[in-house]
Structures are given as structure tokens and as C-alpha cells.
Symmetry: C2
Subunit: 191 residues, 2 copies
DNA sequence: ACCTGAACACCGTTCAAGT
DNA sequence: ACCTGAACACCGTTCAAGT
């Protein structure tokens, strides 16, 4: 479930597939428990494989993080589909930005890792954000056309704003309501 | 210059003082060059002391960071004095928040370290922010009384907002103008 | 083709031995 | 009183040897 590349070039050997799945499962649990900076050795160990096997399947930490985000990305994709069909562009954008902020909070320290990934061209974690930024651009354009937000704000600025709110609310340990409040406060300026 | 504790209990032995100064000097340079997460061993080595000596003077990384921020904190303190005497509370708050954001950007990864420090009660780095949050509270109160900003925003929320903007603009490698723009965008909601 | 785990480099932190 | 640096634990990453 949730393979990032839907078009896999060739099937894995069955033992390799088992290892892949097991590593991903353990990694998701570890990220959820201790954040994305948790020890990779520890993940390999808990998955019952050597560190080399983990590196073979996921050449970098970002690779593993991107894979572990599969489920959340799937949910966002479904939401994007619905919101693109909405007839209230302003409300659609609001709902979308909240969902993106929550996605960025999926794991502790994820906002930092993603922001870092945006500084390198070919990061897999950055690639995983591609659908997010594209949908954001689209919904921002619609909201502008509907006059719901200012015409002079760039989608990337909005994405940065949402990232920063996600970061701050995660660092403060905010509740869902806290995130909502701060996001509303920070995005007033785009209207 | 810029000792955090102005009331030192007793003078250091002269060789200890020399080491202290040298470590702080090297650390400031290293933080400026590679960010606050740079290797402490490396700092000790460049300062010509053993790692134990560094730990004796600065028991934690946060201690060393707080000490290295002395100069910037001094400048902020001077600015605070001037702004408290201003007769335009709205403009004073704006200028202050920009200065705080710039302070938080002094070193790479500083916003993260400070946000983390706020999660522990007795962190020296958190203590170093005490004057900042107090001045912020005062200027926020004045701005409210003058009707320059909304009455229902908490000073701590504003501090969080400024931190998050500092974080994002640092991650994006924004220029001074970029920071200004994003700060203005993010703080529109408080008015 | 894939896995294993030893090996290396690096870092934070402590502490016994020195002066 | 302070410094030194060896020592330990831990982690990321690679790679030669296996199956």
C-alpha cells in the first residue's frame, strides 16, 4: 500500500519485498514515536535486518521518510480531488492549508527535514511535496480569481507560511485547535 | 564583553579565563560559519583545549550558544530602551519584532535550538530570551492601549509567530528584504 | 540479486590522572 | 582549582564476504 512510484520497473525478489515492507513498517512506527531523526541503525535492528539492507532499499533518510509519508499523502491527494471541485475557492483554500499543515506535523521534526529538502534539487522528500505545492498553486489561483485573497501573494510564500506555522505549533506541542488558531492568525495577511 | 551574568561570584584563575575567552571566541566564529549544531569537539580542538575543558566552562551546548549571543543581546537591549520611550507604540512594536526576528536568525539552526529550549524549564538559552519576551510583552501592551493591534492576541503567540517567520526565512535563505516581507505578511493578522 | 555484519569515521560526554 | 586526553557509547555509512 502506498508505494510512491506506482510504476515499479520490475518486481522484487520475495525476501527483498518482505524486508522492504518490514523496514517501512518499523520506520513508520519509530518516526511516529521518536520523530524523523531517530536512529536508522535502531530501525534496521528492530526490523531484523542489517544496516546495509536498510541502505539498499532506502539510500537516504529522506527516502525512508518520503516512503513512510505515503498514507498521509494519499489522504491529501483524495482531499485535493474534492477541493478542486469545490465552488467556494476561499473555503477550499482554508481547508487545504490546514490539511497541509497537519501533514507537515505528521512526525516530529518533519517540517525541518522538508524545509531542508527544499534546498536540494533532487531530494525524494522534496519530490513527495510536489503534489502539495501544485495543488496549493491551483487553489491559490482560484481563490485569487474569486477575489477571496490578495492578488500579489505567491503560492510559495503561502507554502512557507504554512510550513512555519506547522513548525512552530509542533515545537510548542499545540493541540489541533492551537494549530487552527495560529494558522488563522498567520494567514490573515493573505486576504 | 557581554558576560551574561554581570555579577560573577568570584574571579577565574587567569589561565581558566584565557581558556573561557578563547573557547567563546572560537565558538562564535564556528556558529557563524556552520550553525549552532557544529561539532563541539571541533570547537575545543580549534581553541586548543581538551573537550573536558569546554564542558567545564559550558556544561551544555545551550550554555555556549547563550554566551555567544551576548553581543546580539546587548544590541537588542539598547534598542529596547529606545523603543520603550517611543511615542508611536505601533511602529515601535513593528521595529522590535523585526529586530527579534533578526536576532533569532543570528546563527543557522538557532530558531530550532531556542524553540527546543522553551520546552525545558531551566535552559540557559531560554533564560537568555527572558529580556526579549518581557520587552515584547510590554510593547504589545502599549500597542494594544494605543489601539494599534487587536486586544485578543497574546504576547507569547506573537513571539511564536516571529520565531516561525525567522525559522522559515532562514531555511529559505531569505535576504533581509525577504524577512521583512514575510514578517509583514504573517503579522497582518494581529492588527 | 540480495543480505550480512564487521569496519571505519565521527561525535558527545565522562572521569581518572595529572599540574 | 583547573586541565588533559583516554575511554566509552552511539550513530551513519560503506563494503567485502557470503548465500
Amino acid at each position: 500500500m502506498g508505494t510512491v512510484n506506482a510504476a515499479a520497473p520490475r518486481p522484487m525478489r520475495s525476501d527483498a519485498q518482505r524486508n522492504y515492507d518490514r523496514i517501512l513498517e518499523v520506520a513508520s512506527a519509530a518516526f511516529a514515536e521518536k520523530g524523523v531523526l531517530t536512529s536508522l541503525d535502531d530501525i534496521a535492528c528492530r526490523a531484523g535486518v542489517g544496516p546495509g539492507t536498510l541502505y539498499r532499499h532506502f539510500p537516504s533518510r529522506d527516502c525512508l521518510i518520503a516512503a513512510a509519508l505515503g498514507e498521509s499523502l494519499g489522504r491529501l491527494d483524495a482531499l485535493a480531488g474534492r477541493l478542486k471541485a469545490s465552488d467556494d475557492p476561499g473555503a477550499a483554500l482554508d481547508e487545504w492549508l490546514l490539511a497541509v499543515a497537519n501533514h507537515l506535523r505528521t512526525y516530529d521534526n518533519l517540517p525541518e527535514s522538508i524545509a531542508e529538502a527544499f534546498r536540494t534539487e533532487d531530494s525524494p522528500l522534496r519530490a513527495s511535496c510536489r503534489p502539495l505545492t501544485e495543488t496549493t498553486s491551483l487553489l491559490v489561483r482560484r481563490a485569487k480569481e474569486a477575489g477571496a485573497i490578495r492578488a500579489d501573494v505567491e503560492p510559495l510564500d503561502i507554502f512557507a507560511l504554512v510550513s512555519s506555522v506547522a513548525w512552530a505549533s509542533q515545537r510548542r506541542g499545540d493541540s489541533d485547535a492551537g494549530l487552527r488558531r495560529m494558522l488563522a492568525l498567520a494567514t490573515t495577511g493573505i486576504r
